[in-house]
């Protein structure tokens, strides 16, 4: 009740008649609550804060089955395509991608009317080797025009941008096959390029495109894909939740299990719309960073990197000690709105 009309109170200074009363109440409460345990049990026990309130996070699970994908699976789900050899000896990889409207439960109780590639956010992780011929059979099963725009080398008519021919705007019910050689090697991405671009990306039309060097990368024990994204559930062109691989807090609620000494490689892509930057910070560890994955020599040994939209890079590290370790955006606001995860390092 702000409106005191005749009684417009001074909001500053003065002796608060009740101030001291309030303060004593506060202190007394302190004592009486000192031994209380919070009733709530967080899924991740390592993150209990004891008597200091709950940590940010979601309670309960989204319906992965209904969503049609589980972020835990997306980590290691690489689509190498259907492989055959062309008459000239070149390897041909064929992929099928369909654009679909799909309601995805992004936090328990909230469904986001997403636009997806193959019904998932992010879309499939396409993987090829430098020099392979790749064909992406794209069909549009949604009620909006969409395209696939790849980062990498390709002719103009394969760019997936309006004005570049039939591949530049695929009408609902239509289809198009994007075909080009996979190059240069590195970590790339693809996304829809229909205008308004921000909305088409924010709704979920993006995915990872990995081109391995001909000679391959040094072997590691575990390769993971992480696509950093945001979700604007109320369409005010500002993100309400942040995530890796679609579902906020997924890896906080379901820590990624690795082992001490295991070599881990992360393909990290930032597709975050509306916000200028995103970041990745690894706890209690450092990683070698390969920006865009276009070199086999790391550029940096660090524990935090920053990426703007469509920037990406490869991280390599291993843990010395067992335990629970956080990884999250060191834009901490994003972390508390969903972009937070845990590695569970087993001995």
């Amino acid at each position: 009740m702000k409106s005191l009309s005749r009684r417009d109170f001074l909001k500053v200074g003065g002796f608060a008649v009740l101030g001291t009363a309030g303060a004593t109440t506060l202190i007394r409460k302190d004592q009486s609550h000192a031994t209380d345990q919070p009733a709530h049990v967080h899924p991740s026990h390592a993150m209990q804060q004891g008597d200091h309130g709950d940590l940010p996070g979601t309670v309960g699970e989204v319906d992965h089955e209904k969503n049609g994908f589980n972020p835990t699976d997306i980590l290691t789900d690489f689509d190498a395509g259907e492989v055959s050899t062309l008459p000239n000896g070149q390897t041909l990889r064929e992929y099928k991608i369909v654009a679909l409207n799909k309601d995805i439960e992004i936090v328990p109780g909230i469904e986001f009317p997403a636009w997806t590639y193959n019904g998932r956010i992010p879309g499939p992780t396409l993987r090829a080797t430098e020099g392979d011929r790749i064909r992406i059979h794209f069909s549009n099963g949604s009620n909006h025009p969409h395209t696939i725009h790849f980062h990498g080398f390709h002719p103009s008519e394969m760019d997936g941008v309006p004005g570049t021919g039939p591949g530049g705007l695929v009408e609902p019910g239509g289809s198009f096959t994007y075909e080009f050689d996979a190059e240069p090697f590195g970590l790339h991405l693809y996304h829809c390029h229909i205008f308004p671009l921000a909305r088409h990306i924010a709704k979920g039309l993006y995915g990872t495109f990995i081109v391995d060097p001909k000679e391959g990368r040094p072997p590691v024990d575990r390769e993971l894909v992480m696509v950093m994204n945001g979700i604007d559930v109320d369409f005010d062109d500002a993100n309400d939740f942040y995530a890796v691989n679609g579902i906020p807090f997924h890896y906080q609620n379901h820590p990624i299990q690795i082992r001490v000494g295991e070599k881990v490689r992360i393909y990290l892509v930032n597709i975050l719309e509306f916000d200028l930057i995103n970041s990745f910070h690894l706890h209690a560890n450092f990683f070698h960073y390969y920006p865009t994955g276009t070199s086999l020599t790391p550029s940096e040994f660090t524990d935090t990197i920053i990426q703007g939209q469509a920037q990406r890079g490869i991280l390599e590290f291993s843990y010395k000690y067992p335990g629970m370790y956080m990884f999250h955006a060191h834009v901490t606001e994003f972390a508390e709105l969903g972009w937070n995860g845990m590695f569970e390092v087993l001995p």
Binding site: M1, K2, S3, L4, S5, R6, R7, D8, F9, L10, K11, V12, G13, G14, F15, A16, V17, L18, G19, A21, G22, T24, T25, L26, K29, D30, H33, P38, A39, H40, H42, Q49, D51, H52, G53, D54, P56, G57, T58, V59, V107, P108, G109, I110, E111, F112, V233, D234, D240, F241, P248, F249, E333, E336, L337, G338
Partner: protein
């Protein structure tokens, strides 16, 4: 001609009358059923879900934020996510996260808030519609304890009871005055009350904006004010019929002034208690002094009609309590369970009561001026009363 003959027959309430009365209602039921089953040819499906959530109040305890919400939208809704200062927080809702239309629920978050800081909360429903709550200054919500109870009592005493009694202490002095001055004082009282009445009405309208739209706050003001006005008018007429004595009548008017001011002070107490509760005010010593100075005039108003009579001391004390003590009750209610709905109702009652009392005083003044015309005394009196409150109001603005 035939009408007069047939009238007694039609006036009797027969079974036939009953059936005839029932016909439109039965037809209405038919129309509603038809409409519900066919939609009446209109496309009534909303393109987007229409939801409304009113946060009635919040309750802060150590490591705990509790939001008392009401679903004031047309359909049931589900609380799906709570974000506090840009952090998604685990929460529980009792009795259920799904709230029926006009149903209430408490959202509980274990949150380590800090004293004196500000918090912005966004509640998302299952349809991803956000509702914002602001906590401008966080501090422990006063609990009903002997200590806070006494504090709210003190506020009520300072704002209501003490100033009114101080005003009443003018009684012996004012008794010495002549008839013309007494009429002037009566007119001044009317002026005071008109000012208070406008003030109460405006306050009611402001609070009404916070009442969930389904409860039609402004309509509530109309009902409360008109009903109170007419009820007090009826009581005063009946009293005149019973006693008829002028002295008794003046005493009755004084009592009604006390009641009207009492309602005003109840509304004031509610507002102060509620504002204190959400940390919007600091009751400075200067402010309390301002209250006392302004509200002295209210005590003056109560005694003005009975200056030429000899009311007993206990009667005067009773009137002082009726006028002032509701400020204490208001501070308790406002402090512990602030409710815009109740506040609007009390303020509306206060508005009706105050304007009715102005009407009663006008009748008394008319009787005086019928004997001896003194138009300037009335004019200057009313103006003095209004100016008095306006000027003392400067102290606490």
């Amino acid at each position: 001609m035939t009408q007069t003959a047939s009238q007694p027959a039609t006036r009797r309430f027969t079974f036939q009358t009953f059936i005839l009365l029932l016909v439109p209602i039965l037809l209405l039921v038919g129309v509603i059923i038809l409409f519900l089953s066919t939609g009446g040819g209109l496309d009534l499906a909303a393109p987007v879900p229409v939801e409304n959530l009113t946060v009635e109040r919040y309750h802060l305890e150590r490591n705990s934020i509790e939001l008392h919400v009401q679903n004031t939208g047309p359909e049931e809704l589900t609380i799906a996510s709570v974000i506090i200062n840009e952090a998604v927080m685990p929460f529980t809702v009792s009795p259920s996260a799904t709230i029926p239309r006009l149903g209430r629920a408490n959202i509980h978050v274990n949150y380590a808030w800090s004293y004196g800081e500000a918090y912005g909360i966004t509640i998302f429903t299952g349809n991803a519609i956000p509702f914002a709550v602001d906590i401008p200054v966080a501090f422990e919500t006063p609990q009903p304890s002997p200590r806070t109870f006494w504090s709210f009592t003190l506020i009520g005493l300072y704002v209501g009871v003490i100033p009114i009694f101080l005003g009443i202490f003018w009684f012996p002095a004012l008794r010495q005055l002549g008839r013309r001055t007494m009429t002037f004082l009566m007119a001044a009282t009317a002026g005071l009350l008109i000012f208070l009445g406008i003030d109460t009405l405006v306050e009611a309208l402001e609070v009404a904006a916070k009442v969930p739209s389904a409860f039609q706050g402004v309509g509530l003001i109309g009902i409360g004010a008109v009903a109170t006005f007419l009820l007090l008018d009826a009581i005063s007429r009946r009293q005149t019929e019973i006693t008829g004595s002028e002295t008794e009548r003046r005493l009755a008017v004084a009592m009604m002034i006390a009641i009207g001011i009492g309602f005003h002070n109840l509304g004031e107490g509610l507002a102060i208690g509620a504002a204190y509760n959400v940390g919007e005010i600091a009751l400075g010593t200067f402010l309390v002094v301002g209250f006392i100075i302004q509200n002295i005039t209210e005590g003056l108003g109560i005694i003005a009609p009975v200056l030429r009579d000899r009311p007993s001391l206990s009667r005067l004390a009773l009137m002082g309590l009726i006028g002032g003590a509701p400020a204490i009750v208001g501070a308790w209610i406002g402090g512990y369970t602030p409710s815009p709905f109740l506040a609007v109702l009390f303020l509306a009652i206060g508005t009706g009561a105050i304007f009715e009392v102005v009407y009663e005083i006008a009748k008394l003044i008319q009787k005086d001026t019928a004997r001896q015309s003194m138009p300037m005394s009335v004019f200057s009196g009313v103006l003095t009363g209004m100016l008095l409150l306006w000027i003392t109001g400067l102290l606490i603005k």
